[in-house]
């Protein structure tokens, strides 16, 4: 490969160019500043992400760390204050519709129209992705079976349990067989049984080739599901790696004689020791 030795920028440019067309998600220098009532909040302060096709990538962080803000920027739902994002090789800012065809997203609040039935919601979603009525109907049926909602399919969503709503939200993110699926806290508020059901579904979806980017508060969830993860705090990524490598790093650095859990990694990274967390709770 003939590279110009004198020009240091050339190989660098090649490197940043190539992963953006190969990576499932590639974010560089991502920032978001909210301005509310004259006050500026820097929710995300320079996040780089590189998620490979086929991965389940975990995005962890305490409340208010900037997880949802990041997801909203990655999924075209929010403008970027700075930085670039490519999903499936498509620049989300330059070609949002192109990106939307590659992206499936289930946000933190399962956004559903409670006056409709789950079948109607899925058919509508499929139609909006360009399917004909008959195709949309067939796809809806397929997805209802996938998330085990066939019995409730023709009941209005208003009466659904939290778990059912989550599963429907998940299904609606899948109508167009997205390359990359974004899940913002997919199991928050679910009982342990429903949580495991969602995990199984995420694994199944992933095994069919979909890249998954999920945020979570549950470290066990990240440990169980994710190939790789990043921990974000105050808008910056402070740890990144496989669950095993993060634990090993902590063990090495602190000279522990037992294996640390992901909880320990998280607490260490976010500067919250167990003592301090206990203390904070006491103060309340």
């Amino acid at each position: 490969m003939p590279t110009n030795q004198g020009d240091l920028n050339a190989p660098y440019a090649l490197q940043t160019d190539r992963p953006s067309s190969m990576s499932a998600i590639k974010a560089v220098g991502l920032k978001k500043t909210y301005s509310t009532g004259g006050e500026e909040v820097e929710a995300v302060r320079g996040v780089d992400l590189d998620v490979q096709p086929g991965e389940i990538f975990g995005f962890l962080g305490p409340n208010g760390a900037g997880k949802s803000t990041t997801v909203r920027m990655l999924t075209t739902l929010m403008t970027l204050s700075a930085g670039t994002v490519h999903v499936g090789g498509v620049d989300v800012a330059a070609d949002p519709h192109g990106a939307r065809r590659k992206i499936g997203v289930a946000l933190q609040e399962a956004g559903l129209d409670e006056r409709q039935t789950s079948r109607e919601i899925l058919v509508l979603q499929a139609r909006l992705f360009g399917m004909r009525p008959s195709e949309a109907g067939a796809r809806a049926q397929e997805l209802l079976e996938l998330v085990d909602l066939t019995e409730a399919a023709d009941r209005r969503v208003k009466g659904y349990s939290g778990g059912m709503k989550r599963r429907l939200d998940l299904a609606s993110a899948l109508v167009h067989e997205p390359e990359v699926l974004f899940l913002d806290e997919p199991t928050t508020g679910l009982d342990p049984g429903s949580r495991i059901t969602v995990w199984d579904e995420v694994r199944r979806i992933n095994s069919m080739g979909t890249t998954v980017f999920l945020t979570t508060q549950y470290l066990e969830e990240a440990d169980q599901l994710c190939n790789r993860l990043a921990i974000i705090d105050s808008g910056l990524i402070i740890r990144e790696g496989t669950p095993a490598s993060l634990k090993a790093e902590l063990r090495e650095r602190t000279g522990l004689d037992t294996d640390p859990t992901l909880d320990d990694v998280f607490l260490d990274a976010t500067g919250r020791t167990r003592d301090r967390v206990a203390g904070e709770v006491k103060e309340i």
Binding site: R72, T75, T76, L77, M78, T79, V90, D95, P96, H97, G98, R100, R101, I103, V105, L107, E109, A110, G111, L112, D113, E114, R115, Q116, E120, L124, Q125, R127, L128, F129, G130, R156, S172
Partner: protein
């Protein structure tokens, strides 16, 4: 990668035909929603009819059919009917439904689909058109039962319904704009109070030339006046090209303004 390119600007004919198709899909859903909450249609029909009955009851004696030239030989109810139709057209719940959808997160789900931003705005407005057309038709049929006649006949009746229903889209569109801006039900509802006076700063009791001078000026500046006069001409006079033209011109200009502001708002929505 042709699919990728469809979404970008300059898609031309396919882009706008897709926008129309998606608006109909979303509109169909909004109509279904209205049918499932029929009580929301109740005030749309009965408050205007209530005002019609009350206003006619109070003023019909002052304005007898014979001896009141502006009635063109009809009863005072015929003169009041257009005001009632316009009142009914301004009960559209599109703004409030949209706030609910924003708060619940479903609006984000729709925004994450590759549909034209125009369709996001037009979907509910299309439903508003259909609802208003249905309600207006029922109101006119009731009026016919009480002896009111549409001078311009069935074609005029259709023109009337179209004008009123298009105005309902414009009005509901401005409510949606408030919803997008404030994202709060209280503010959207409160905001509609700003538009409400427009309905009454009109020649709704007597023709414009018989209003007091300040009211006449207000009514002349108020775009709703021209829609009311357009509809009224169809009821009382037959086809009056100038009146109908002005009515549609107002609807057209305000529609374009509302759509342009809405698209800008949706594109910059965070």
């Amino acid at each position: 990668m042709t699919a990728t390119h469809q979404g970008t600007a300059g898609g031309g004919a396919t882009e706008s035909s897709n926008a129309l198709r998606d608006s109909f899909i979303l509109g169909g859903r909004a109509i279904r929603e209205a049918l499932r909450t029929p009580d929301s249609l109740f005030p749309t029909m009965f408050i205007p009819l209530f005002f019609l009955v009350v206003n006619v009851g109070q003023a019909a004696k002052i304005f007898p059919s014979e001896g009141t030239p502006f009635l063109f030989g009809q009863s005072y109810g015929a003169f009041q009917l257009p005001a009632s139709l316009l009142l009914s057209a301004s009960f559209g719940g599109a703004g409030l439904y949209l706030v609910e959808e924003i708060e619940g997160g479903y609006f984000d789900k729709l925004r994450a689909t590759p549909i034209s931003r125009m369709a996001l705005v037009l979907g509910r407005l299309y439903a508003e058109f259909v609802k208003t057309a249905a309600v207006a038709t029922v109101m006119v049929l009731l009026a016919l039962a009480f002896g009111i006649r549409i001078k311009s006949g069935i074609p005029g009746f259709l023109v009337m319904v179209v004008m009123v229903s298009l105005w309902a889209m414009v009005f509901a569109g401005f409510m949606q704009l408030l919803a997008l801006k404030t994202r709060s039900a209280a503010a959207t509802q409160g905001g509609s109070m700003i538009f409400f006076p427009l309905l009454f700063l009109t020649p709704n009791f007597v023709p414009r030339d018989q209003l007091t001078r300040p009211m006449e000026i207000a009514a002349t500046l108020n775009p709703v006046t021209y829609i009311m006069e357009g509809v009224r001409s169809l009821v009382l006079e037959g086809f009056n090209g100038a009146a109908i033209g002005k009515g549609f011109a107002v609807v057209g200009v305000t529609m374009v303004l509302m759509l342009a502001l809405s698209i800008r708002m949706v594109n910059n929505y965070d």
